[in-house]
Symmetry: C2
């Protein structure tokens, strides 16, 4: 089954799909997609005009969470959702926390202001938004630290999709030096653990023209 | 098992949960929550500070899609997700379409500008946003019409969570007369079918002080 992911390197939603597929050892060809140019070919693949879009066997799929749920159902090993309904709820709640709340309050204010606006030609960062993002990321790191005080991984004692959802956002922000890893020792330990997984290698090799990553970005001993 | 939903009447995310629970004949006490006042008690129930929040047995739950998935797992009859992984993917994709894209392009621009800003004391509607929402809703109605040309319900030949996600947004907009039902006969037929279900009764009885609904809102023969 040949798979192809239309993506942009720093998109946390694309990264979540890449991490889930890599953890399950599913090969996928990566194709960068300038989705903001709204090419008719791309809009045929996904009328929503967003990445990720995944060609997976005969399916052409959009929306990162439904994609990840489908992959989990078709390739259940290694499991990235717990066995109990309560456990699955907590993973899905945290995926929504990062993909909705964290995305809106942090990723959009920092990454999209600093990088996406330049790449897509939309102009300069709005400093008010950057300030709001820099303030909000602290609150979110503290929330993660609180969860990790009680749990080995974000949603419980096993690695799940929720860790990949969070790591997808944080790794994209780390690429532009917007995460203060000294704020919490257990968040840093968690990120060190997840960053050293083989599934993370492709993420750490990403390069965006005009935005070289800082030296610590790909360093497992950051 | 006594359930309680902290909600606001016109929130499409709360309405989705109400519709899914009502379709499964699960009783729930509705408690209006002035979430924008960020009362400490409410933030303890959901640190994300949003509605819906559902007390369901021993669980205190947030995020409408994870809530609906949990309810579906614990109360699988009548089924609101299909039996195949491909079918479930399509339902989840459409839920994400309405809760993310439609919400951002339409609901936020119309309902939040016209109603939420007044209720929460944020000020007056921004006419640029209202115009953008009025334009976008046409595109979305056409997309629904295209789906319903090929299918009895939005995600296939059976009623699913996707229909409730869509109907939750459209019913909230219909409360403020922002849906042109004459644009597409099959979208209107679809809404007439879903509106006449017993699960819809509580939605049609909603009243927001200062915003009386138009006569056609609760009329099954609109």
């Amino acid at each position: 089954m040949s798979s192809r992911l239309y993506h942009v390197p720093l998109s946390p939603f694309c990264r979540k799909v890449r991490l889930v597929m890599a953890e399950k050892k599913l090969e996928v060809e990566l194709v960068e997609e300038r989705y903001w140019e709204k090419e008719p070919d791309f809009l045929r693949r996904n009328p929503a005009g967003k990445v990720p879009v995944l060609k997976f066997g005969a399916m052409m799929m959009a929306e990162s969470q439904p994609i990840c749920e489908y992959i989990e159902e078709k390739h259940p090993e290694p499991a990235l959702l717990p066995k109990t309904a309560e456990g699955r709820y907590e993973v899905r709640r945290l995926c929504a926390w990062f993909d909705d709340k964290f995305h809106h309050e942090v990723t959009a204010n920092l990454l999209y202001e600093r990088v996406n606006k330049k790449v897509t030609g939309e102009g300069y960062p709005e400093s008010r938004n950057v300030k709001a993002g820099a303030k909000a990321v602290k609150y979110h790191l503290d929330y993660m630290a609180w969860l990790l005080d009680q749990r080995r991984w974000l949603a419980g004692d096993a690695l799940t999709m929720a860790d990949f959802a969070a790591a997808a956002h944080l790794s994209s922000l780390d690429y532009i030096c917007d995460v203060d890893w000294n704020r919490s020792a257990n968040v840093k330990d968690w990120y060190a653990k997840i960053k050293s997984r083989p599934a993370f290698r492709s993420i750490l090799a990403d390069q965006v023209p005009g935005f070289p990553p800082p030296p610590h970005y790909a360093d497992l001993d950051f």
